[in-house]
């Protein structure tokens, strides 16, 4: 027998969108961030595990990667947080015109970053087939490149969507807010990778 309902409260007046921890997608994104963070963390562990076997790092006869492009990449990605924060704030204020103006900026920065990344690969002073050191350095840089590319791509998709009338919808503003959150994660993760690829071999 199915119990008879006893009516208590009515939830019809609840909102359908909220920013932050109320949002279901916020939790979903957090889940995927932790997954990616765990993968990166274990890749870092593998890096230090392999380093522990070597007399020198990079192994003898090898040069550490050239600093120029990696450092340039770091500066640009850190500066990208300025438009990123502006977009996040605009989403909270439902300032759709500002979002529409700023998103192409962040998409362009993503494109610049990918170009610099190409030069970074060329300046590692090793090929992935050389030895274990080279393999793990390439792996770290490649993993982060995939991270950048996926976020760059979905930022483009979101930008196109924000240009339509649906850009005024609360759900899309939450998407914008959470996309900015994710970009922060992308550059935060880059900092330890930058140190591992470019500075640990110089210690």
């Amino acid at each position: 027998m199915i119990p008879v309902p006893r009516f208590t409260d009515d939830v019809a007046d609840l909102p359908t969108t909220k920013f932050g921890t109320s949002s279901l997608t916020w939790w979903g994104i957090l889940g995927y961030m932790v997954i990616e963070g765990a993968a990166f963390g274990l890749a870092f562990a593998a890096y230090f595990f392999l380093m522990g076997h070597e007399q020198g790092w990079p192994p003898e006869g090898r040069q550490a990667p050239n600093l120029l492009f990696g450092t340039l990449f770091t500066i640009v990605i850190l500066l990208s947080e300025i438009p990123n924060t502006a977009i996040k704030k605009a989403a909270h204020k439902r300032d759709v015109p500002a979002i529409r103006a700023l998103m192409p900026v962040i998409v362009a920065i993503g494109a610049v970053l990918l170009v610099i990344r190409g030069f970074e690969f060329n300046n590692l002073n090793c090929r992935w087939t050389d030895n274990a050191y080279a393999s793990i350095v390439w792996a770290l840089l490649l993993l982060h490149t995939v991270h950048i590319m996926t976020d760059w791509f979905d930022t483009i998709v979101l930008w196109l969507l924000m240009r339509t009338d649906l850009g005024w919808e609360g759900r899309r503003l939450v998407d914008t807010d959470e996309n900015s959150l994710y970009w922060r994660y992308v550059w935060l993760l880059w900092i330890p990778i930058y140190l591992m690829i470019y500075w640990v071999p110089r210690l």
């Binding site: 006893r6 909102p15 932790v34 792996a139």
Partner: protein, 654 residues
């Protein structure tokens, strides 16, 4: 602010339209509400509707049925191995075929049966148990199932084409590396891992978000059913551990395909790096399989002893601490590789420590039985069988946590006996119990009780006969993974007994399946709550309608249906003409948001096909990753992109 006039006019018009939306409530209830909800929630019929469904019950059912088919396949391989080992110097199966058999058996059981079946049950039952209408991200859920299915089909397709893996279920390097495993067998294994990891991780995110955000109002974390607690811990464990095997298998495949040197000792790589990464996943994996089963045991014990599980907070803390400790044990799989002394001491201590929370849980169940009035129906029999068998397996676990004994017993049949005691005793027994218990909810009919009891005793006794002698075979020095053994070492009797026992287990499983199929058509019709249970999945009809609950229930204690069996407090006000669910706050479960539930969509299936093509072709060429990314990106974008570009009064995910 600064919206153009046109948008402001739209906003005002939408606000007016919002008032006219039909919602459930005292004025719209009963048969009329049911009919309208059914129209909204029912998926389109036909094969396309089947592929497009986002109903968690359908997806959960597919997960369970698929996993049980893989159980049968993996079990058939076990029987072949037992036939080969029935007598000494047997040549029924060649050494290399035998390698394939144990690899396929282990990989199938761990990756295609044990984890997916637990997730499948959770995907089906958790939303019902929490009093909600859907899982979080139901399309991701559908995608997860298809990825799992394709991974399983690829592995078994390869096996059928005689390119099945033959490197053991943990695929140790350097054996699995390019030098010692040329050909594609190891790559098939590595990509099967990728498929099942993507699937398991997606399901873990779905379950975590469902448990944290979709509970019925009033179901605070302290009132959550113990099975939901177990699955929350498991989902978080999956999120932290499975990236490790995904990373390791990617490194393996890149060593094999593009010549990296992660595991290649000649270029300063390290085979032990594989073991660390594998077991950092592999040990938590054991608890990922075991903890859902402890949730089953708590559910069954509560219902059949007719009292809440003794010391609820202790059980919850045991689950959480087991989940944390499980990440500090992985090195005990590597005692034989040579470790620093402090490493031996630390991991021995940690391995013994994990027995404490598990023992606490067992004491809580025993106390519940002691204090309650246990009814020995089939599910409860499985619980008792579980306790007996699991305690034996747990004790041999404490034995091999000690380094000197482990070095003696490593890679012998003692280990095989140990992990079958904890995995079959610890997970499969409760699984069969819970399948019997939830069968009426899944199908609307009861399983046959007498047949179930015969099946239980056959399984319980057959299992002991199959696996208890393996302890002795192991103590006598019989190594695992060797296709035969010489006569005259005293191994004949234990092996023959094990083979007989294995066939008894197989017969019991056949009996269980027969019972399941027979009851599907001839079983006694089940009422909404046939066992007189306390949790919310029993507050709706058996099987539940597409929308689960006509009104969203409100929870006032840990055992809602025992408080007032005849009436159920509910909240009202969700949409009737569109799919909608209620989100609540994470800790207190106060109503927070109304959330649209996605319409059925083919895009998760198409995305799974695109990603599947990428994974399978990347076995053959690294360029597949580049070219395969394009259709995958298109499919995933189409999945997300709104199909109706008009603004609506309230959000709809079309």
């Amino acid at each position: 602010m600064n919206a153009p006039d046109r948008i402001r006019e739209q906003d005002e018009k939408l606000a007016r339209e919002r008032k006219a939306i039909v919602r459930d409530g005292p004025k719209l209830k009963g048969a009329e509400l049911a009919a309208r909800l059914d129209r909204t929630w029912r998926r389109p019929p036909g094969i396309l509707g089947w592929l497009a469904t986002v109903d968690h019950k359908e997806i959960g059912r597919r997960y369970i049925v698929t996993a049980l088919i893989f159980l049968a396949l993996g079990g058939a391989l076990a029987l072949l191995m037992r036939l080969q080992l029935a007598r000494p110097d047997n040549n029924l199966i060649s050494a290399s075929r035998y390698n394939e058999l144990f690899t396929m058996h282990g990989s199938t059981m761990m990756f295609l049966f044990a984890v997916p079946v637990m997730e499948g049950i959770a995907v089906y039952i958790i939303p019902l148990m929490l009093g909600t209408r859907s899982t979080a991200f139901p399309r991701l859920n559908a995608f997860s199932y298809f990825m799992y299915l394709f991974g399983g089909l690829m592995l078994w397709g390869a096996f059928a084409l005689n390119i099945g893996p033959d490197i053991g279920w943990f695929a140790y390097t350097p054996l699995s590396g390019p030098q010692f495993s040329p050909g594609k067998r190891a790559d098939v294994w590595a990509q099967m891992i990728t498929f099942t990891e993507v699937a398991a991780l997606a399901a873990a995110v779905v379950l975590t978000c469902t448990i944290l955000k979709c509970r019925a109002p009033g179901m605070t974390l302290a009132r959550m059913p113990l099975f939901a607690w177990a699955m929350l811990v498991v989902a978080v464990m999956i999120i932290f551990s499975m990236p490790s095997i995904a990373l390791a298998s990617s490194m393996l495949i890149s060593d094999r395909l593009v010549g990296t040197n992660f595991f290649n000792a000649y270029e300063h790589g390290d085979a032990l790096l594989w073991q660390h990464l594998f077991w950092f996943f592999g040990h938590p994996e054991v608890y990922i399989i075991f903890l859902p089963a402890t949730g089953f045991v708590s559910v069954i014990t509560e219902t059949f002893c007719r009292r809440p599980v003794f010391a609820y907070p202790v059980v919850v803390l045991s689950l959480v601490s087991t989940g944390i400790l499980a990440f500090g044990l992985w090195v005990h799989h590597m005692f034989a590789t040579g470790l620093p002394r402090v490493g031996y001491s630390f991991y021995t201590a940690a391995s013994m420590t994990v027995a404490i929370p598990t023992a606490l849980q067992i004491f809580c169940w025993l106390a519940t039985m002691w204090d309650g009035r246990p009814r020995l129906a089939v599910p409860m029999l499985y619980v008792i069988g579980f306790i007996v068998t699991f305690v034996i397996g747990g004790l041999t676990g404490v034995i091999i946590a000690a380094v000197p004994l482990d070095l003696e017993l490593h890679d012998t049949y003692f280990i095989v006996a140990h992990f079958h005691y904890v995995l079959i005793g610890g997970a499969v027994f409760p699984l069969l119990g819970i399948l019997t218990y939830w069968y009426p909810k899944f199908t609307g009919r009861m399983m046959h009780e007498a047949l179930g009891k015969i099946g239980f005793w056959l399984l319980f006794l057959g299992f002991q006969l199959a696996f208890f002698p393996m302890h002795f075979a192991g103590l006598l020095g019989m190594p695992r993974r060797v296709y035969t053994y010489p006569a005259g070492l005293g191994l004949e009797l234990p092996n023959l007994l094990s083979t007989i026992g294995a066939f008894a287990v197989a017969l019991a499983v056949v009996l269980f399946v027969t019972n399941g199929l027979f009851s599907l058509y001839r079983g006694v019709l089940a009422p909404a709550n046939p066992w007189g249970a306390a949790s919310l999945e029993w507050a709706t009809s058996s099987p539940p309608p597409a929308y689960n609950f006509a009104h969203i229930p409100v929870v006032e204690s840990q055992t809602p249906l025992w408080d007032s069996p005849a009436e159920l407090p509910v909240v009202t006000g969700l949409r009737v003409d569109q799919k909608e669910m209620l989100l609540t706050t994470v800790v207190a479960a106060a109503p927070d948001l109304r959330e649209p539930v996605p319409e059925p969509s083919l895009w998760p299936f198409i995305s799974a096909v695109a990603v599947g093509v990428l994974f399978i072709s990347s076995i053959f060429s690294p360029w597949a990753i580049v070219f395969g990314a394009i259709p995958s990106a298109i499919a995933l974008t189409a999945w997300f992109w709104p199909k109706d570009m008009n603004r609506l009064p309230e959000p709809v995910i079309s």
